[in-house]
């Protein structure tokens, strides 16, 4: 980039254009800062983080493990894109259906054609409603994905139980 500017400034062919050329380019060093999957520290240090959130993505397989378990991600795995899209759909469906109740990431494990979805849920609704949502989610998901889907829930009293630290 600097070379182009120098070239434009030193060009004798179009001396009258050279200041324009030079002013068109704004150069600055690239900011290679990774921000995805990381959380900023608050002033009061009162932002609650779960264990999953407390460890940035580069700690996957070191301090935390994957949220999707399937054979598609292996070498020569089949249905790579389909599996990814389905997993994202399941995640959105679960967080939307169990609105405000999901306290952790949605963990999706696939064995053969069986999909097991594990979530930590807040005990904010009555057990009756929970049973309804459980059956509803399983039924709807297995109808859409055409696979048996099992929800494996763990319940906690409040969101406080899954908080790992405050930043």
């Amino acid at each position: 980039m600097n070379n182009i500017i120098k070239f434009a400034q030193s060009a004798t062919i179009l001396p009258q254009w050279s200041p324009i050329f030079a002013s068109q380019f704004h150069t600055s060093s690239a900011l290679c800062r990774v921000v995805s999957g990381k959380y900023r520290i608050t002033k009061k240090r009162d932002k609650p983080l779960t264990y999953e959130m407390a460890n940035p993505p580069h700690y996957i397989a070191h301090r935390k493990s994957w949220n999707s378990w399937n054979t598609s991600s292996l070498k020569d795995g089949l249905r790579k894109s389909e599996t990814a899209v389905e997993d994202e759909f399941i995640r959105r469906f679960i967080t939307g259906t169990w609105h405000g109740l999901v306290c952790s990431e949605v963990i999706i494990k696939r064995q053969f054609n069986h999909i097991r979805v594990a979530v930590i849920i807040r005990r904010a609704v009555s057990p009756t409603k929970m049973y309804f949502l459980l059956g509803y989610s399983e039924e709807m998901l297995s109808n859409w994905i055409q696979c048996p889907v099992t929800l494996e829930l763990q319940t906690v009293d409040s969101y406080q139980d899954v908080v790992f630290k405050y930043i």
């Binding site: 779960t50 264990y51 999953e52 460890n55 700690y59 070191h62 301090r63 935390k64 493990s65 994957w66 949220n67 378990w69 399937n70 054979t71 598609s72 020569d76 795995g77 089949l78 249905r79 599996t83 306290c103 952790s104 990431e105 963990i107 494990k109 696939r110 064995q111 053969f112 054609n113 097991r116 594990a118 930590i120 005990r123 009555s126 057990p127 994905i145 055409q146 696979c147 494996e152 763990q154 906690v156 009293d157 139980d161 899954v162 790992f164």
Partner: protein, 339 residues
């Protein structure tokens, strides 16, 4: 109004309204009771209807793991593969990375424990029990096939296929269609001509160092078809190699792709030399061709040395062998290495 504010909870507007109305009613009632001594007939039953609904929180049962007996059958508690559930597992588990000096997060509300695949359904007693259960479907291994050699002798053809296990709505994997057939060339009944032709037909499918012919097929969509095709290929190559075409008889000495001692003048020279030395009289060309080299002392060694020299090209080793063979044949003393 102060009551309203104190009792107000976000998201419970309905409740708040009820409280507001209840409060205003109550004040009115109190005033009336002071003024009159008769009770007012409450036709609309407003008081009972305005009872505040108390949101009851259901009692949380204690953990199942606390009530478990020490001699319970674990296979019944955890019968199949399942994500970790803290209240069902009576183990003091912890998982997670924490700074030095702290305890890792416990088993409750720990998503990491739910992520890792567990083998709680495959404890040794359960495996033993399941093996016992399927034992009645198994037959004993044939006694005569107790070692590798016996298996190779009785089942010379080896079929190799792969089954794939993966997480997907379909159980089919296109790679499972590939079928491979392996057979030792020495197990096939071939004569010299047929063997030569067979090797030409299979080409690079023959491995010289292991003497194995490997035929792989993946052109058909189903494994059964590929297996049939592989078997067909072996059969076709075998019978084709036994066929002798008319034009194969036209092959002359110049067409030979390798040095055949029995067809070359070397044999004629050797045999006629031997006949002259042993004073048995001359032989005709036909007789020379059928003459067995093994009758000549050190004849086979000479044959091997000459064939090696021509087939494997000149090298120190082949020349040395040739030298030794000729000396033995002619009864000359062995070569003395100059010191």
């Amino acid at each position: 109004m102060s009551l309203f504010i104190r009792n107000y909870k976000p998201g419970s507007v309905y409740n708040a309204q009820i409280i507001w109305r209840y409060h205003s009613n109550k004040v009115d009632m109190a005033k009336k009771e002071e003024e009159e001594e008769f009770r007012v007939l409450d036709i609309l039953k407003t008081r009972t209807r305005l009872q505040k609904k108390v949101a009851r929180r259901t009692d949380i049962q204690p953990d199942r793991s606390e009530k478990m007996k020490t001699d319970q059958n674990w296979g019944n508690v955890w019968p199949g593969p399942r994500s970790f559930h803290p209240s069902s597992v009576p183990l003091p588990m912890r998982q997670g990375y924490v700074p030095k000096g702290q305890a890792p997060p416990g088993k409750k509300a720990n998503a990491e424990l739910m992520k890792v695949p567990n083998f709680l359904h495959l404890t040794p007693p359960v495996i033993k029990m399941q093996c016992e259960a399927i034992k009645k479907f198994c037959t004993p291994w044939p006694e005569l096939l107790n070692n590798e050699e016996a298996i190779e002798k009785n089942y010379p053809v080896e079929i190799i296929t792969s089954d794939y296990c993966h997480a997907s709505p379909t159980i089919r994997n296109p790679l499972s269609r590939i079928a491979t057939l392996r057979i030792k060339l020495s197990d096939l009944k071939l004569d010299k001509h047929a063997r030569d032709k067979f090797l030409r037909l299979v080409g690079d499918k023959y491995n010289e160092s292991t003497d194995l012919v490997t035929i792989t097929a993946d052109r058909c969509p189903i494994r059964k078809q590929n297996l049939d095709y592989v078997n067909y290929l072996l059969t076709a190559c075998y019978y084709e190699s036994w066929n002798v075409e008319d034009w194969e008889k036209d092959k002359t000495l110049e067409d030979m792709e390798y040095y055949d001692f029995d067809q070359n003048p070397s044999k004629a020279n050797l045999v006629s030399w031997f006949m002259r030395v042993s004073k048995k009289g001359d032989l005709s060309d036909e007789e020379i061709k059928v003459f067995d080299i093994n009758n000549i002392p050190h004849g086979p060694e000479y044959k091997k040395a000459v064939s090696d020299l021509f087939n494997n090209s000149e090298s120190d080793q082949t020349l040395q062998d040739y030298d030794a063979a000729v000396r033995k044949l002619l009864g000359l003393p062995e070569k003395k290495v100059a010191q």
